[in-house]
């Protein structure tokens, strides 16, 4: 039941995209998202589409895993599309009762749907090909300059990776305790809201107890290994840019320039 929830949804495969430095993927995704919100015209849309499908193909992740992320935002997408469709002023196409659909509304709605879809697909590529730990590593290294002005970048990154590491463990623990209490006749489904909340106590108390116990154990284990934070700490697998990472940056940059060029010179049909 709870096992089906995937947060760090890493899909292991041996592909070029998997091997890229996490920083490349982070910045690449960021640039891609920016490009989605500044493209104009059908040519740019085609470029963005082709670019994404090439990357998905290269990542060797089955397409159905990408689409999984879309289900979650389906409702958000429908609402956004509806708002755009009915509330954009402009040239009237159809009108019934209090609703008016305008030409601008229609294009906006379609564009917004496309943008959101691509946004989810694009970020899915990153989360599916990068382990959460690699991502925090990448973030830590990218944000390192901020430590000069007194921001504890390493501590934040460490907390993030610990938190990420514990999500599956706590989900499993929740699942286990839930089953144990269900075996004792607990009921987590029926009843009104107040009753439901009350029924959660047999789940939440053991869960918190175990979370604190685990946190204690982990702190102890880290101290036993003489962990003392960021300053001067080396990594087992330090991040280095390699040839393919530079190439990837170039490709992403070229893509972005292309989108910008289209925005300026090929604005048809808008």
């Amino acid at each position: 039941m709870l096992r089906d929830i995937t947060l760090g949804q890493y899909y292991p495969a041996d592909s070029v995209i998997h091997k890229l430095d996490p920083r490349v993927k982070l910045f690449g995704t960021m640039i891609y998202i920016i490009s989605l919100f500044c493209f104009r015209g059908i040519a740019a849309l085609a470029i963005a589409t082709v670019f994404m499908f090439v990357v998905i193909k290269l990542s060797k992740v089955p397409f159905k895993f990408m689409v999984k992320g879309l289900k979650a935002i389906m409702i958000l997408m429908l609402i956004t599309a509806a708002f755009n469709l009915f509330l954009t002023p402009g040239e009237e196409l159809v009108s019934f009762w209090v609703f008016t659909i305008t030409k601008e509304g229609l294009t906006n709605a379609v564009l917004m749907a496309i943008r959101l879809t691509y946004l989810i697909l694009g970020t899915s590529v990153m989360t599916l090909t990068t382990t959460p730990n690699q991502l925090t590593d990448g973030l830590e290294k990218s944000l390192m300059p901020l430590s000069k002005i007194g921001i504890p970048v390493h501590a934040i990154a460490m907390m993030m990776s610990i938190a990420l590491r514990f999500i599956p463990i706590l989900i499993e623990e929740t699942d286990k305790i839930m089953k144990a209490q269900m075996a004792r006749g607990a009921d987590f489904e029926s009843g009104n809201l107040l009753k439901k909340v009350k029924n959660m106590i047999p789940l939440l108390v053991p869960l918190f107890v175990s979370a604190f116990r685990r946190a204690d154990d982990l702190a102890m284990a880290m101290e036993a290994r003489c962990y003392n934070g960021g300053e001067g700490r080396t990594k087992m697998k330090p991040l280095h840019y390699e040839g393919r990472d530079r190439l990837a940056y170039l490709v992403v940059l070229a893509y972005f320039v292309l989108i910008l060029v289209c925005r300026i010179f090929l604005r048809w049909p808008q």
Binding site: Y11, K64, I177, Q181, A183, G185, D187, P206, V209
Partner: protein, 292 residues
Amino acid sequence: MSIILDKVNYVYSEETAYQIQALKDVSLEIGDGQFIGVIGHTGSGKSTLIQHLNGLIKATSGSIYFHGQDIYDDDFDLRELRNRVGLVFQYPEHQLFETTIFDDVCFGPKNQGLSKEEAGLRAFEALRNVGLPEELYYQSPFDLSGGQKRRVAIAGVLAMKPEVLILDEPTAGLDPAGRDEILDLVARMHRERGITVILVSHSMEDVAKYVERIIVMNQGQVMFDDAPKEVFRHYKELEAIGLAAPQVTYLMHELKERGLNVDTDATTVAEARASLMQALTGIDSGRMDIHR
């Protein structure tokens, strides 16, 4: 027949990168009043199997019948099934949550719809059965020692008076005295109340000493299902899948090889002693009082 499994399959994380087939075509009959041991190395599907027996996990395919009723039928009451098939999870002490031990043990009976008084009586009886000192009843379960917590958690299931009691490694992490206490308690419940007991264990000695039937799981399949003697005769195959026969069985095989005419089927110390006495002195020690 109280529980019948017919070609049960279970797949974890279906249609993801981490898909695992935890059970493959498992067919079993679990008779009333049996004392069954389930063994198998880590990841062999033992825990998955027992969670099917009270409907906590729904099989991907196959059916399970409880007293002839299909538990996956729409009109089958799974909560009623869980009242009758008690399951004690691994490290059950992690499920304690109430402010007092007594209230925690009352949780199960209250969920069964019993009145406060009845639930209290059940809790008293269960706590007495697991041998917890009475002065602890109204203390917080979180102040107890590990072994005591374990006993409280088991009492929490016993108080529901199940017909079938399933225990998933109830002795993991306990000291030898604690281990014997728990297993003796379970054996007594089996003897006195005639309940069916299914014991998942990693200890071949424990299994050999208590159970009358062993189910060996390997890679999601039932590998052996027989009396302990018969199962441990395959000790070479058991070793190949990361298990073993009881230590004393190895000793008997060794002695046999060295020329002593002993029974290599002995799986408990008592049986081995009897066989040894007979081989050495020719006296059937079964009738002797050896404690002298």
